[in-house]
């Protein structure tokens, strides 16, 4: 093959994933549903082995996630950042990039929102809220675009750069928030920033008269809007078409006149923007400030959410709600049924395992000669 000598249009070291032929059954929601059920079954066995009652455990889980209006709102509160970070991963995935950096991009967005919201706290909400939002989206986007640029210009693997960027953000946060430039003067020992202005706060959309203590904020509306934007962008605009074309085959896309490098930088900006928005929502909707150890792990759970949701708008939304239900319900399962909440993590991991196994099954199916007309 002489291709080794010719410079690849996607830069050195690039091997964009080419979609494998897929059997019909693997296209729909069958695989995610089966994987979740299998994981729940495995979890039930583990609960039994650990000496508890799985039925009681799972009932507590369901009650914790959906058992009361308050619990439903709390589940949605978790689902919001998961959905947005899930879109961040998916939009990159659709373009053939693996964004492990949603966590770091989320934190950068949160820092930007926390800084803007506190710095201009006197501005009225009509200016301050959009300003806070934009600052988070741009900061998260710029942070993500670094990985996209490194990939496009130098062929640096985005998996590595985004992981390293996550660490960078965590340490910058330590510096900023532990007696650093952003630490609130009266933080009382807690490494936290000053509170954002009233104008930067996303209001609670379900009044406490209806659901007492509800924390469900307008961020849920932003998340829904983001899902629609994601769908529209990817499937209703020419840019989305180009991004997906790059994802399906960068060389073919280049042949068709689409420059994969520019799309890579752009899509990582978009991915970072969605994650940054998630960070902004956590600041403006929940905490009204940033603190060290903020929103740990959402960006990583988001990878699972995107995979389970098959990188589709509806799928991601449902997967985010499911993972949020696991998170909230798992905690209540521990409180009410005495089952360790870490068990839910085992269930989540099993879901991923089954999804990963799908790739193996698919490869076997292809080798066995699944009819070509079954390929979508």
């Amino acid at each position: 093959m002489t291709a080794a000598a010719t410079p690849s249009p996607t830069g050195p070291g690039t091997a964009p994933s080419v979609r494998q032929p897929t059997a019909q059954w693997a296209q729909g929601p069958a695989v995610p549903i089966v994987s979740v059920l299998a994981a729940l079954f495995a979890g039930a066995i583990l609960i039994l082995v650990s000496g508890s009652d799985p039925i009681r455990g799972y009932l507590a889980l369901i009650r914790g996630a959906f058992g009361s209006p308050y619990n439903i709102t709390e589940t949605l509160v978790i689902a919001v950042p998961l959905t947005l970070a899930g879109i961040s991963v998916a939009v990159a995935f659709r373009t053939g990039l693996f964004n492990i950096g949603a966590q770091g991009q989320l934190l950068v967005g949160a820092l930007a929102a926390g800084w803007t919201g506190a710095q201009f706290s006197d501005l009225p909400g009509i200016f301050l809220l959009p300003l806070t939002l934009l600052s988070a989206v741009i900061a998260g986007g710029a942070w993500g675009a670094i990985a996209g640029w490194l990939k496009a210009a130098r062929g640096v693997n985005e998996v590595i750069t985004t992981i390293m960027q996550n660490y960078t953000v965590v340490f910058v946060m330590h510096w900023l928030l532990q007696n650093g430039p952003m630490t609130a003067p009266n933080a009382a020992g807690t490494p936290a920033s000053s509170p954002i202005g009233a104008g930067a706060i996303l209001p609670i959309i379900i009044p406490n008269e209806i659901v007492p203590l509800s924390r469900l904020h307008a961020g849920v509306l932003l998340a829904i809007a983001a899902v629609v934007v994601f769908w529209f962008l990817m499937w209703r605009t020419s840019l989305g078409y180009e991004l997906r074309a790059v994802g399906l085959g960068a060389r073919a896309a280049a042949q068709a006149g689409i420059d994969p490098r520019r799309r890579m930088v752009l899509v990582m900006f978009i991915a970072g923007g969605f994650a940054g928005l998630a960070g902004m929502i956590q600041v403006s909707g929940l905490f009204h400030r940033v603190f060290d150890g903020f929103s740990a792990g959402f960006g990583f759970d988001a990878i699972a959410v995107a995979l389970l949701g098959k990188n589709s708008p509806i799928g991601i939304t449902l997967a985010a709600i499911l993972f949020a239900a696991f998170a909230r319900g798992g905690t209540i399962m521990q409180a009410d049924a005495g089952v360790s909440s870490h068990l839910v993590e085992v269930v989540e991991a099993t879901v991923l395992l089954v999804i990963a196994a799908e790739a193996i099954v698919r490869a076997l199916a292809v080798r066995r000669g699944t009819p070509a007309e079954a390929i979508a």
Binding site: I55, R56, L59, A60, R63, G64, Y70, E74, V77, I78, F171, H174, Q178, N179, A184, N186, A187, A188, G189, T190, P191, A192, S194, P195, P212, L213, R215, Q282, L286, H288, R289, F291, D292, G293, F294, S295, A296, G297, F298, A327, R328, T331, I332, Q334, A335, D336, G338, S340, S341, H342
Partner: protein, 343 residues
């Protein structure tokens, strides 16, 4: 097929209703205690696990019904505390200063539920402390056990006992916050008082979980001549102890008795009896003696102490440590609360 599905659905509903009935049958006159850990989790060998020990002891001795919830993220504190309050628990205990604002939010909403917070006082949305009539703030005088282990470290260094040959003692905190720094302040105070010629080094791992970061600081300290290392950094501190073990020098544990972490390396531990604080608070609720606001645990009420002392520590040093503890109890020694050596 449809019929099977319908049957399955009906049987599920029946299970749900009966099981819910069972759950509803709980309650009655027994006192219910809910414990919410911070993100450190139950296996931190530190204050979360100690608080849980206090809960289990109370369940055994006092006949109270207890439950525990581990928080995975800081986002979880409010809903986890709320869950117990909504179910009318008699006492909801939050572990750690990270919950100061969350406990303020929840306790305000449930004025009839009693709360207790380890290592902190409720803080309002502006970040200012605002005491509530239904929150007990359980504080410890960490400088006291810090001072006592400081006496041991200073004398070991001064007398060049065993592997302590460089006359240098060190400490590492998790992050620079008052409840971490107080330990170190007492430790340094003792060293400065007893052995002014001893070099003191101090650093932070900037983490309470990651052992690798603690080990890095430890190896750095040892390379500068430290042979006694005192950690106040939760899980990260275990890495600091691991560095001491690897290089064959001494370490001092914190919170719980950590002599079993590295026998022969850990010469003693500075104890903060969080278990006693939880137990005493549960007992106070049961005896209707619960007191909101600041509650201090110190040498005076055995809320602090020191752990098992390794045989490598000579008898005269042990005696000096016991004497220091007694002097703190009697008020003769008042350990400093501000760090003197920051680097």
């Amino acid at each position: 097929m449809k019929r099977i599905l319908a049957l399955a659905f009906i049987s599920l509903m029946v299970t749900v209703t009966t099981a819910c009935g069972n759950l509803g049958g709980l309650g009655g006159p027994t006192i219910k205690i809910g414990l919410v850990t911070d993100v450190g989790g139950l296996n931190d060998k530190g204050f979360n696990s100690l608080a849980n020990q206090g809960r289990l002891d109370a369940a055994k001795d006092l006949g109270v019904e207890t439950s525990v919830t581990e928080s995975k993220k800081q986002e979880d504190y409010v809903p986890n505390l709320t869950n117990y309050a909504q179910q009318n628990y008699d006492l909801v205990v939050g572990v750690g200063f990270l919950m100061t604002n969350s406990i303020w939010k929840v306790a305000k909403q449930f004025p009839n539920i009693k709360f207790a917070l380890i290592d902190g006082a409720p803080a309002n949305d502006k970040g200012d402390t605002e005491n509530l009539p239904n929150v007990a703030n359980l504080f410890f005088r960490e400088q006291e056990p810090g001072y006592v282990v400081g006496v041991i470290a200073a004398m070991m260094a001064k007398d060049k006992v065993g592997k302590a040959t460089h006359n240098t003692v060190c400490s590492m905190g998790g992050i620079p916050i008052p409840s971490v720094d107080r330990w170190i302040a007492g430790y340094q105070d003792a060293v400065k008082t007893i052995s002014p010629t001893t070099t003191i080094l101090h650093g932070y791992s900037n983490d309470f979980v990651d052992q690798a970061k603690g080990k890095e600081v430890g190896l750095n300290h040892i390379s500068k001549g430290c042979d006694i290392l005192f950690q106040v950094a939760g899980g990260s501190g275990l890495g600091y102890i691991a560095a001491a073990k690897e290089k064959g020098v001494y370490a001092i544990g914190v919170d719980a008795d950590q002599s079993d972490v590295a026998p022969g390396t850990v010469i003693t531990s500075a104890l903060k009896r969080v278990n006693k604080a939880v137990y005493d608070t549960v007992k106070a609720v049961k005896d209707k003696a619960y007191k909101a606001g600041d509650n201090f645990f110190s040498a005076t009420n055995d809320g602090i102490g020191i752990g098992k002392i390794d045989p490598v520590v000579p008898a005269n040093i042990k005696t000096a440590a016991d004497q220091a503890l007694a002097d703190i109890k009697s008020g003769k020694i008042k350990p400093k609360t501000e760090i003197q050596v920051k680097g």
